[in-house]
Symmetry: D2
């Protein structure tokens, strides 16, 4: 399977940056989930380009649902989201048919698709394709929320500037992020982060960062010991999002430098259930959810589209040459990517819950 | 699918730490791959407990192949590896039926399996289950090697002590690792790392570390843009290995702090093919292999079995209590895990190659 | 996975009979396959309602391709086909929200989707959904044809009237079917079959029949012994097509009454290859293609939408009641279904070939 | 995926007729299902060769469970069944390395595995491999039975002699079959069927037949409209069983000759639920279970191993030649295949139930 992911709840995505339309098919979600088109539009807005820190390409990103919704609710059959492309400037991309942009998928796409790929604007590799994922994810996020499961992602670092970590008031943090158009927990880092992105743009360069995602209210006992651990399926999805180069759970790489006595999370009885005193393991033990918040951190590499001259190869004669990228690009995508991660996580978790508790659990009373 | 992974080439694993036998079924590998039982035994030895830095449990780990091999070669039908358990001390585990060990999967297993799981020695969650993966992986490693694709993993850090990174002589580094029973590139770090592990053991504690894996000779153009990116499928497999809590490719999390002009790998023409001047992206662009070495770093948390008293809950009456773990455990597993990563990577890559080039590519002449 | 089928080459379908649009996403087909929009339109026409022997609902069935095609060829990324619905008369269906039509999926859909399904015109269960399959299948059929693999389906029986079987000139038979709007091999049975369908319509009743599909030029050695035998994957796809209730290969059920000496197909050497003297096994032995024509016969039940009064249950109060179906329906679908089977078979076979020989085989020179 | 089938509950099979051992891995079955080793042995006995109407090869078929069972119950992790081969006479098979037996998979295996396959006794294509399926299926059958779902298969026809069909007392019929070593409903047909098989044996020939399977108590609302219809997944599994060449549901191929008014099953209210007056659709409508008995008929071709001289090709020089099969073979397998179908159906249905209602449904109280 290539552009389809998930087992009981699955998503299929399609489209190219400069093609006719992009979109997604969301299949297997429980019947009867309310579909809130305003919330979908709100999520699409979070992904959109904003002001001086994003690309100058502006798309309405109006989502048309052509199947799977009846009387405002999911039917249980495939939900199809279509987003027409409108603001393409394809003439900027002629040279890319034979000159691969460093850091982009142009060269590997040539090797895989033998030059048949739609190379304009990154084609099917473009971050634009995440728009379909966000539309589908919005329905998944709503469904989870109705069961008390909430998700939030913030910009932990951008261009070297750090946000604070999630606090003990995780519910408050997630609520704050839901309405924020620049997802930081500490408002005072917004201005310096934005300034860092603008500085990169002014230099014709770009910056990356780290995103931190928290999932709250996810029940214990979901996941597998092998091979579909919760970490496995979440990372599988996350590593398919353009620019993601690292994924860690709980304290992640920092755990490598701890001792067992530091890293182990003690169990304590709390109100009839079991909780851990700390959460170094990020809500997952042995691949299975523990009921504690799931914590995921993701590395986003700097946008590879920069305006500085770069070395590349002319594939027509295999000669060394240079390339200066034209077109309209993001000096950073981290502020746009956070909603993509929320959506991606929601889709994976809906699938895991359906596999564990059945296809109707998301609309069950209990 | 739960304990089966892969599509064209797949592996199914089974067994519990204190059950009768463990093992694996490797399916879909090309017919005609030589099966070298000595090499399998060699790989099993690399995974085995060694001296004072490992568990006192000693298993012969003799691998019996009961299907799928005929006249010393793979038939193309499922190859089954069976390893009998011998040196179990199950009486050490009685308390674990109701007291979850911190950092272990005991609690989440209870929530998933309602107490029906075989809790002795971690049961199906035990690192012992990786023995089947190593047996299957040995055949995959041989098959890849015959096509010029080699894999090596070294202990990048352990308990805070660092090995050097892979050098420009990657072939030499990988060759060195293949024969090493303690996989470091810089021989001078072996003694301090071993000492650190022994110190942890003497304190009744444990240590973790980071592993770095390199794959050389893997062809360009393999992988998918969505959702089965090469990073996705490799991380899916890696995150299913016990104790793995972080996975990154190329410069991984460090990329988050770079600018685009620092992170982009320029393309250069070299002997009729395209190479990059640097390899910050770790051999994968847009989810597809570039022909450059694939570089993966993995965080291994410290072994959760420590001998210090820890807080836990008595699940029989949900009261807070303490637990002191008995049994024989590893103060570190990082030196044993490296061959598991090699094996896991080999299985994933064989699958990807078969999907891309067909089931017979591994035994093709070219 | 629900509405997605296939592994290396897959198809996802979506839509409801009276929704906004229906369609399909075809993923994984080799890059560089020419996409002939005229041929797609031709195939859509074969599926369309014709004259007095079909429904009075008339849809233009114009296929819009919104992704995956660039410069007239497949890119290798998902191809999305969208067909807008236009001629719905949804007011005819109000009663169906609580009265299940005998022979239809209304009742089972209620049990699965708890009344949330779009019940108008059969919703997602409608034969109309096959239009997406035909659009996707048209590209697959073209791709196969370029490699010398052709497919044809004829109406073996309809309402008790029999066509002749495939002759020794199978290539001629398949060519004849490709251009026929009523797929029979013996032209003299067209009139009586049509008359039988019209008689059923006049009686407010319907008829079914059997379809026979032949695939020519398919290479030997494709398929699996377990579980993905060629029969398994073809029947899996065929049994998902509405109204199919039986599938057999080669002599199928008739083999049950033969002896081994009658049923076995002897091997003979012929022009450097091996052929069988007879083809009782329909081109598949042990789940794997033999290089002989693949022969499949499919039972199509009579259209369940009839105009006679029928017994049913009022689900609102679980009382017995009657139902007289309104709306526009087909007295037979067998003449429309044949192109659906061709399409379905082509999609399965492209997937099997890609799994066996790699993703590029369909566009390879050899 | 090749030798693994199922999604939430899956089975992997392995082994060759003359290899060391055969077996199966059953994964994903709910934790806490009692494992009755006597019942497994009973089912294995039903599959075994009996007297003059079966092969002279006699295997103890003792099943060793090496994982996934703890304290007599399933753990929820993979259950591995191993059956050692004992009574092989491999010397009978030397010629088969280059002379394909008509009706067997020898030739197609050569084309797929390039001569690397274990050709002795049919290798991985042998009906012997179904022993693993029967062992795994026995656990599934027990689990279903505890939830009121029972399965029975009888020999509907053998060598032209017909058993009666299932009666209105379906529960009684299924109970009768469970204990019968020759599965016919009408005891008076046992002797003539047996005589027909013995006559075939005496002629060095073989016979086939049809099996009819009924499933009772299966809940309504399980299955999918596309592509995983209940017919699709059941036929997928059934067509992977050696010698199956046709599968039909309900009235199957006979439906093709009915009118809609004859074929439609009217709905009637009955004790708070909905039932159909007739069951022409075999318990499945629109791919989803209706709560009525599921009825499947399967065509079994005559055993291809016959002792008459047959035409074949010597693959060494591609010359026409003849072959006279040696070894010990079944003049019929239909009486042995019935328990294979029961097992296969049980495995598929457990998977479908887990997908629909969650992994624990089989052990839930309700």
């Amino acid at each position: 399977m290539k552009n389809t992911f998930g087992s009981s709840v699955s998503v299929t995505i399609f489209g190219e940056s400069h093609g006719t339309a992009i979109g997604a098919v969301l299949d297997g979600l429980a019947p009867g989930v309310p579909v809130d088109e305003e919330f979908i539009a709100h999520q699409m807005d979070l992904r959109k380009a904003v002001g001086s820190i994003s690309t100058a390409r502006h798309e309405a990103d109006k989502v048309r649902i052509v199947s799977g919704v009846f009387n405002g609710r999911t039917t249980g059959t495939p939900i199809t989201f279509i987003i027409e492309n409108q603001d393409q400037h394809s003439r900027d991309y002629g040279e890319l048919a034979y000159k691969a942009r460093p850091g982009h998928a142009d060269y590997t796409a040539m090797m895989k698709y033998h030059g048949q790929q739609d190379f304009r604007g990154g084609g099917h590799f473009s971050g634009r394709i995440t728009a379909g994922l966000v539309a589908a994810g919005a329905v998944a996020i709503s469904a989870l929320k109705a069961k008390g499961i909430t998700i939030g992602t913030h910009i932990l670092t951008c261009g070297g500037i750090c946000d604070r970590q999630f606090s003990d008031d995780l519910a408050g943090d997630i609520a704050k992020l839901a309405d924020s158009d620049f997802a930081v927990l500490d408002d005072s880092v917004r201005a310096p982060m934005t300034a860092r992105i603008e500085a990169a743009r002014n230099e014709g360069d770009s910056v990356g960062g780290r995103l931190e995602t928290a999932v709250m209210g996810f029940p214990a006992g979901v996941g597998e010991p092998w091979f579909d651990t919760l970490e496995s399926v979440l990372s599988h999805m996350f590593f398919s999002i353009p620019a993601v180069k690292g994924v860690e759970f709980g304290d992640g790489f920092a755990l490598a430098d701890m001792t067992g006595s530091q890293a182990n999370d003690s169990f304590r009885s709390s109100g009839g259930t079991v909780r851990t005193s700390t959460n170094h393991n990020g809500g997952i033990l042995g691949g299975i959810s523990s009921g504690m918040p799931i914590i995921i951190r993701t590395a986003i590499k700097p946008t590879p589209s920069i305006y500085k001259e770069q070395d590349t190869v002319d594939m027509r004669d295999m000669s060394d040459t240079t390339l200066t990228i034209k077109g309209r690009h993001d000096p950073a995508i981290i502020h746009r990517a956070r909603v993509v991660l929320d959506s991606a996580a929601a889709l994976v978790l809906c699938d895991q819950l359906a596999l564990r508790f059945g296809t109707d659990w998301l609309v069950s009373e209990q």
